[in-house]
Symmetry: C3
Subunit: 465 residues, 3 copies
């Protein structure tokens, strides 16, 4: 299996078999960390951090140096080229002519894709805003796999800030892909967002089971919410199963608990209520005394604040420092694969589940824009044409190919209209019956009436939803 | 040809043959970028950036790493040692004892010369305020040479902000040295400064041809201004040539157009008028459709803002990303030459034009100071003695040896006066007839009357100009 | 002699013989700086600078690179992980899993000890607030040793800001350990603090000799203050010697003068009086003309401000740039020893003076806290338990094991009380006669009455001092 020349922007860029390939190479490298210094000799990695993240950056750089490669680093880059008005695309092209591989961290969602599109060398996304941070997900998965030998069929509880935690969303998708059951234990007001649940169920074959307030008392308030069950072979089978109470599930024990801190820096600071901090669920010795957690791996992407007690550090179940340490061999494996310095042998053909389903593209480049103000396509509109996947027609749902945020445009028209005169160019509500009449290849989508009108369209009879 | 132990502070530090030597070595290195890793093994480069410039820094560092050398970097240096009151000279000495070569970027003009004076190891100027950035000029020239095989006789148009663009001034001098014709197309109010034109004509043998408003209509407003013609062998021959209209020149085509962005960061921000932005000339597809530009190389030092349209990126005439990429082999060649790790064979003796003419020095250390507030000699006066070259006597013109700004002092006196008593010590206007009476070795120069008087001189009869 | 796996947090971590071992290895490395590139091949050093210090960082990094090792650097770390609320201990653990050795600079006193406690790899303190910067002391000592062949019996004058100068305190202890005589010449109001004098006399066998105002006129105001004499073998012998005037001492000449700048950044800026600046003693040509300084080494840790004149730079007695340069081989020696890549042969057994005397520990973890607001134990109280050494019982003096600041708690109680009921639990003034009655292993110490009472203790009869 060769990954030479490829980029890793989202976890979906790798098939399950490719992920296993990275893991098997990482295993070998972890066993002889000091003997890899000829693998990437003569290669240069550029690490471009538009946002500080010392831990992630150092892990990547240590990985490249252990492989015998060299590193050029920019942590000051935000203050400089952006100030001069440089585009991400230009920066990517220039740095791509200096280095053999680029690691990029940038606050705009979708920015890593733009770098990968323009750099001409492999690019690894080290975090693009609230979007993705795939190597974190890889090392999380790797730790579970390493400790439990498999991921399929495990029960993994996600804990804390499930709303803003980028790593937790990516991990959820990945767990679903590998057939784990996911239990949610959010802090008050920080539940898993609908769009994540939708993606888990619609694209990764998960089955949502809701446990109402009734169950809360039953489980001591621990898992007051929902769970995603995945059976990779027959995704919808579970729906037909007899109901199993959460209590029964939990009695069998949770395999891993993944704790996240309150993501203050991704939120409007003013919105962080004192209450949220006070009510944030803490993982400590007392909790881990419960039978449910008897053999549970305690995981955390770090840094932690107060949600994970220091008293657990010596507990053999605590995995968080091991996670961090394993980031180095995982990144070594990944870098050497993308640079083509190594091949991975998975011993199988790639029969693995392909992430996501194939959605039709919408790329007219006008009429509709990504509604996420933090999306790279919005911030670099000078040269980036908006582009979407059509996730659903009812309700009409577009997903930005850069930041993957979903938008729900209200108006549509057809490109193949009677006679083509202005008079006959009409736009309609996207939830009217006209939606069905427009052939997909003719679909024109508008954010707003004014957008439609500016393109010369007049309101149709069903312009109002 | 050996450059071992030398520094590159300004382009004038290299003869034309030495420049060619750098280029020929760069050619070889560009062809086998991955095979140079033993050239500078064991050597350390310090890259000291008192001002952020990620692109330039990364290019230097990638160059050193490709040569097998290692890098210590300081981008945080401004905030630290300056805060503690450290001088540039001390910093240079200390870092010179850690590293084998220093790359320095600093906002004060002339600072790179001070570093070179004190470091004890080779120093490369990576930009000292508005003064020089010679490796940018080298890679610009290298790109032209590489694409056109020669520089002599080419017609190169300089475009945009010709007033504050450091790179554009350096390039102009270098083009003149190599015998190219230079055409100016400034943005409104951002014309090439007089002192640059003066230096081009007086020191690099250029001949200025002015094209008045009449020509403007003739050339469609493209080249509303002037051109510098250089014939290296007989510089003044052109003046005797029959007048050739600019139109005829342009019909033969321009070989390269060098576009610069509005240099906002070097200017008083308040002075950037909205008008300037609006009227800034843009290079785009429409412009390049003209016959004049049919085979023109489109160059830009990057980063660009709006003056160069993205639609040109795929055009084969676009050179700007190639320029950036070529910075690496050019800097590899330069670093290895200065470190003495390589010699360059130019196949010729050094018969090349020596840049500039030899001007007498003025280094009494008192009476007159550089008038450029951004000059290193003004900011580090604790240990730097003002020093000048006397460029002209009428009008009396001094050029600071650090920042190369010119000053026009108003008063002079003689060091050899009758008896040496106070009564006979008089100062005179520098444009009075006394100027001729003072022998050069006796010349004392004063900024102001108060300065003269503070040294014990009294006003002479011709103290008023 | 092997130092493999050890850390260097304070100078006291090394015995005198170990220091000599570092110096002898540094000698060899300095002679062949370019031939050490296989010593630490494959090893990674993390340099973590929570406070900028370009000079120190570059010296460490150059040292590691000259040894063939590689470096990951974080100067941005303060802005990032601290903002996310990460603890120093967590950071140490994580980085310790990436790198083979850590160099840490942090503004909190005692922070380097915490890093060393948690990292799992050797740690070098590159400055922890006002506490220690042991490699600076090593290179200072090394320079004296190199120039004078010995340290024992030399007369070294400490000059300038002796109050806030961290390097000057560490150097004083080290000089005392190696048997030098120390003369003090403080700037007005910046004399050597009592606790330093106390430590010099009590723990390093020094003998303080005070020279009153009478001597001031005698010595021309040069050494208006005191001196520490050390005779390593019989520390108290000097007290019995006949009085020798300072004048006689000085006439024999001072071997080295160690100049420090006004430590503005460690002080409350508002407290820096204009007077202090004006009266700060300056070392210049005029001073060095005195017979006392005829063969004196002029030393300075750099950066300098105005206390050391530029006119001395060419003087052969000036050592400050040599000091800086020698930091590289000293650090190379140290790094290679701590990594176990080298052993040092000192040719002797370790019969050397052990720094400090052995004080009993006080580590109940409650009742008393370090009074230094800049101490790591105060700032990271979440997981660091206060811990002290009991330096003296009368007055009761505790020294924090992290920052080494001394506190003088006012109240004590005994852990072995009749029946153990509340009624019989009493606290007493620490300078009352009760102090003697409590057996050391039973001693409980309180900062304040309220602290004692919050633990259930009642005031005893001698609660008032």
């Amino acid at each position: 299996m060769s990954l030479a020349g490829r980029s890793l922007v989202t976890m979906d860029d790798l098939s399950n078999d490719e992920v296993e390939g990275v893991f098997s190479l990482a295993d070998g490298m972890a066993d002889s960390l000091g003997e890899q210094s000829s693998v990437c000799q003569g290669k240069i990695m550029a690490s471009l951090f538009f946002e500080p993240s010392t831990r992630t950056r150092m892990s990547f750089e240590a990985a490249m140096l252990r492989l015998g490669g060299r590193v050029i680093t920019a942590v000051d880059i935000g203050a400089t080229s952006l100030a001069k008005g440089e585009s991400i695309a230009d920066m990517a092209r220039v740095v791509g002519s200096y280095a053999d591989i680029i690691v990029i961290r940038h606050p705009w969602e979708g920015s890593a894709k733009v770098v990968a599109d323009y750099a001409g060398v492999p690019v690894i996304n080290a975090g693009d805003g609230g979007h993705e941070h795939p190597t974190q997900t890889l090392l999380d998965l790797y730790t579970i796999k390493k400790e439990r030998k498999t991921i399929k069929g495990l029960k993994v509880a996600l804990w804390g800030d499930l709303k803003y935690g980028r790593t937790v969303h990516s991990l959820a998708y990945a767990l679903a892909r590998f057939g784990a059951t996911i239990l949610f234990r959010p802090a008050p007001g920080l539940g898993i967002p609908d769009h994540v649940v939708r993606k888990l169920t619609a694209e990764y074959g998960g089955e949502l089971r809701r446990y109402g307030t009734a169950d809360q008392s039953e489980t001591g308030g621990l898992f007051s919410l929902d769970a995603i069950y995945v059976t990779p072979s027959t995704p919808h089978q579970l729906a037909m199963m007899a109901d199993v109470s959460l209590q029964v599930e939990l009695e069998k024990g949770v395999d891993a608990i993944y704790v996240t801190r309150l993501q203050r820096e991704r939120r409007d600071a003013a919105k962080v209520e004192g209450d949220t901090r006070r009510e944030y669920p803490v993982v400590d010795k007392r909790l881990l005394r419960e039978r449910t957690f008897k053999e549970t791996l305690v995981m955390h992407p770090l840094p932690r604040v107060d949600e994970l007690a220091y008293e657990l550090d010596a507990d053999p179940r605590s995995m968080y420092f091991k996670q961090a340490a394993r980031g180095v061999p995982v990144r070594m494996a990944l870098i050497s694969l993308l640079l083509g310095s190594k091949k991975a042998d998975t011993g199988r053909d790639d029969r693995s589940r392909k992430p996501g389903t194939s959605h039709p593209a919408y790329n007219r480049g006008f009429g509709v824009r990504c509604q996420n103000r933090n999306c790279v396509s919005v911030n670099e509109e000078k040269y980036i044409k908006p582009e979407f996947k059509i996730i659903s027609l009812k309700p009409l749902t577009l997903r930005c190919i850069y930041c993957e945020h979903e938008t729900f445009p209200k108006y549509v028209a057809s490109a193949e209209w009677h006679e083509g005169t202005l008079k006959s160019k009409r736009y309609h509500s996207s939830d009217s019956h006209w939606m069905k009449k427009i052939r997909p290849e003719n679909l024109i989508i508008f954010d707003s009436e004014s957008e439609a009108q500016s393109r010369g369209f007049l309101p149709g009879k069903y312009a109002e939803g």
